[in-house]
Amino acid sequence: MRITTSMAWLLAATLVLVPVPHLLHGPLAAQDSGVDDDDDDRDDDDGDDDGDFDDPDDQDPGDDPDGDDDIGGDDPDGDDDIGGDDPDGDDDIGGDDPGGDDDIGGDDPGGDDDIGGDDPGGDDDADGDDDADGDDDAEGDDDAEGDDDAEGDDDAEGDDDAEGDDDAEGDDDAEGDDDAEGDDDADDNDDDDNFSEDEANDDFDDDLGQWQAIGGESEATRAELDARDLIDTDRDGFRYRRGEFVALDLMPEDLAQLEGRGFEVLARERLAAVDGTLLLLRGPPQLTSDGSFDALDAIADPDSFGYNHLFDSSSVQTKRKRGSTVPERQACGCAIGLIDTGVTTGLNYFKHVTLVQRAFNAKDPQARLHGTAVAHLMAGTKRNPARATKIFVADIFGGPRENSGSSFALIKALDWLAAQGVPVINISLSGPRNPAVASAIARITRKGHTIVAAAGNDGPAAPPVFPGAYDGVIGVTAVDGANRVYRYANRGAYVDFSARGVAVTAIDAKGGVRDATGTSFAAPVIAARLAAQVRSPDSAAAQKAIRALEGEARDLGPPGRDPIYGIGLIGEGN
């Protein structure tokens, strides 16, 4: 032991004095002497330090193209013989170490580095951790989307607390505060609770609050409810109503052929502004959704139909901003449309503007945080002396869950807003590419309407989301007060402009003040700026207004247009 320890000291001294590469003689494969340098298991020449029991870094999951359950490398070694597969039947730990001493550095004379010596085996807890399954909290957690607050949601359960606050108690106090103390919880750790130290808006990126997923559902809850509501996911993982398709202007003979094959027309809408007929179709019961899609694809123009996808209002993060007030700001002085959740029209914040709402998935609009916050960003806090402000709100989320945010509702909403003559429509939603939606958007943009959409909050290396990524749609990303891009903002060639969308002071459906974060809250800045310049749908006027914004934009990031910030940053203007 003394000898080996001395050798270890010598080795350590050599390590310090001689650059490591000088000790090396090239890759071991070229000079294998037959001794296993991986001294955890002489029979296992795989070069790991984890023997036969690969750690997750050793996974090689890519050879499994059959789509079975082990995608994503979840079955680390692809076999089930783990556990008892130690070929030599022993769990020897000492014999693999030719030196008989694992204290390679010898740099800890106190001995605690010497796992072979000081801890001869009587104590398995060399690392003080016998809790090999100390990570149990993870597999029981399906809440991977970062929203642990399933109950702190926007109350998708359809109860009376649909105002979009986080008040699980169902408190309906009008003050926009959920309890008498002016605080909505007892502890200081609630992300949803913004204390006074944060009032300076200086926490742009440290704590942006809780995710506000649509309906506030955790992923597990959503999966359960989706199964109940016959909602599936398409090949890209986006949700759609099982067996349902939207189609715009199917040829009559195609429709007849489809009906002959068992397709059923569930709804038919004549869209005046879009200038077409929108169909909601259901595939034959004997076919799967994919089978129905293939049948449609074989008969109809592929640019005319798509799944009846269910869009989400772009998921955002919000945080209550207790005791704060909303900064004074003029209304946009414009006519503008938004497709979103419903808005709480009765709030004092909207007294100086005209709000017109219509529901497209329910009888009446249902006010929630998202739409209310977006509308407030357009409305400001005071009247624009130059011109009245009129905000048209198309609520596509209120109503039955199974159709909330449907493509069918979205296309109808587009048509309604275009029919109102609004020059600019803000869509703070994101979802999949859908040919029928794309077609409707293309039709109304050709008529001079301008569509502004959130770039999405899926992450900087996420695939593009729509409608922001459609040609002709103005995609807007979010930056913080220091002009840094929002961490979760999508990037891509479709990002046209940046606007403040991190820790934006907004109001929720009860009039409570919040910091709101997401590209959803940046898009309205651009939409309002454009709408203030264009009084009616007019392609030429819209182009002129866009060019003016381009000229005004403050270039951020790499010089010139880039996929992170687009052309650059646009301020609120007033």
Binding site: G26, L28, D50, D96, A126, A132, R491, G492
Partner: protein
Amino acid sequence: MLALFATALALPGPVALPDYAPGDAFVFSDGRVERVVAADDSNVTWAGLSGPSYRRSRNFIVPVLQWRTGRATGSREVRGNPDALWPLGRPKSGRFRVITQIKAKPQSTPRRSVSLWVCKTSKARNFTVEAGTFSAIPVMCDRYSPTTMRLIERREWDYAPELGHYVRRVSLNYLRGTTRSVELVAALSGPAATKARLTALSKKARADRLARRMP
């Protein structure tokens, strides 16, 4: 594949350790999905789309700290300061040792081993991967036999500060004579990182990889 063309940025300054949040998910070119299910100041619990989770340091150069494979469990203890490489910026190097302990089954005697890791960082350069083009800092770690000092393994990461994760990961195993390299295909965050979408991206990544292998 993706219409993403993130332009490289000059690194604004020293780059701190990655800051992951639950929900962050990364899809690699071999179809592997890594999701953050929990995070604290030091460690991050990761999981794939199914199967057991595992714990590792926020500092990705540190091998997995705790994992389970069937009935087997493994844990590692780090001696030294692998975080000395951080903040990334100017090229630097560091070393640390890792004591690995594996138990084939709960009642087994643990098997232990020691590894020596020597790491260094280089200057940032542009990396184009499927998820876009990123300015990334190469980080390379070599694992040596603690007894003979022979080079056993090399791992490389190209860390993109603007993304907060590495965009390429290479593992060279000199004992096996193998090299494995994966690139970032996509990253989803927050509520967007659903299993359905991650599964779809994973399948597509695999299909693309198979297509690339076809003659």
